[in-house]
């Protein structure tokens, strides 16, 4: 082919207005500060929740089944915080990989995201089943006074979970198709990378 159009394109390509670097730098510094404050706020909220759970744990009588539930809550908060930090780290770490690897990683992440949500629903189902069995045991085995006290507390606890379960269900309905769409888009772009 003639080299002329290529050289003209090159000239046109580089004939772009200069970038206001100071302005760009200011925007980046603002974003960095916001991200830093957001991460600090997130850790603070987790610490507050942990402190509250520790206080509740201390307030509950030794040997009470509630202690096991509170411990589960503490484990859940710690695990979510670690997961959030790992996700953020992973997102940023991927920036210097090759474009094709980045797309493969995106596909894997989207698939893992869907698997994680399915796993969460399975664990939720297990928790509900265990809770139901426990509730049945309380109803069938304990004397009337103890049964009434514990069963009432369990009913309140179960009811409190209903809005959370509905919210998680709605979020799943919104997020899973989004993850699947992202996976398909990444597959399409990966194919596009090799298309001639």
């Amino acid at each position: 082919m003639s080299r002329e159009p290529w050289n003209e394109w090159k000239d046109a390509w580089h004939d772009t207005p200069p970038v206001d670097i100071e302005r760009l730098r200011r925007h980046i510094d603002d974003k960095r500060r916001r991200m830093c404050w957001f991460a600090i706020a997130e850790v603070l909220v987790s610490l507050l929740v942990l402190a509250h759970l520790a206080w509740r744990y201390d307030a509950v009588a030794e040997g009470s089944p509630w202690r096991a539930l509170i411990l589960c809550g503490i484990g859940l908060v710690v695990a979510s915080q670690i997961l959030m930090l790992a996700l953020r780290r992973g997102t940023w770490r991927s920036t210097d990989t090759a474009p094709a690897d980045l797309l493969r990683l995106t596909i894997r992440r989207a698939e893992n995201g869907v698997r994680l949500i399915v796993a969460q629903w399975i664990s939720f189902g297990v928790v509900v089943a265990v809770f139901a069995a426990w509730y049945a045991w309380v109803r069938l085995s304990l004397d009337a006074a103890a049964q009434s006290r514990l069963a009432h507390a369990m009913e309140i606890s179960a009811l409190a979970q209903v809005p959370l379960a509905i919210a998680f269900g709605a979020w799943t309905a919104w997020y899973v198709p989004r993850l699947r769409r992202r996976r398909e888009d990444a597959r399409r772009l990966l194919a596009d990378l090799d298309r001639d």
Binding site: D15, L24, I28, A98, P99, D192
Partner: protein, 168 residues
Amino acid sequence: MSRAAREQLFDEALRSHAGLVARIARTYEADAARCEELRQDIALALWRALPAFRGEASLATFVARIAHNRGVDHMLARQRDPGGAALAEDYPDPLPEPVQRVEAGERQARLFAAVRELPLGMRQVVTLALEGFSNVEIAGVLDIEANAVDARLSRARRRLRDLLGEPS
């Protein structure tokens, strides 16, 4: 890498390669406001990625890789045709004469729009070639073979010529 060294390298990268970042961003986004956001995202990603820079390749190729990766992320986030909104460009032009300014601006807008029409693999190769990277450097940025760069670039040029209506 110490914080001061990182900040210094970041400043150097921005001062030397802000134009490269801006042009790559423009091959992923036609809308000026979104393109500006993408430029900021790329710069932020660059700052995050700098500790991984070992100096084995040039800073320019490192910046180019980050910019392309963020561009791909941007395409995924928008979940739409990457060539869309091609006519929405609104960039100031540096030339003094009004007629020249309009002509040069139009020529440039057509070129960027045509580059955005290319399949992703061709687009990345042609962008880097227009930036002046050698085929070996392009192969390094995209992690592909140098002969694949040759083949892809030659097809991309033909496709660009068709898109721009240039004679063969």
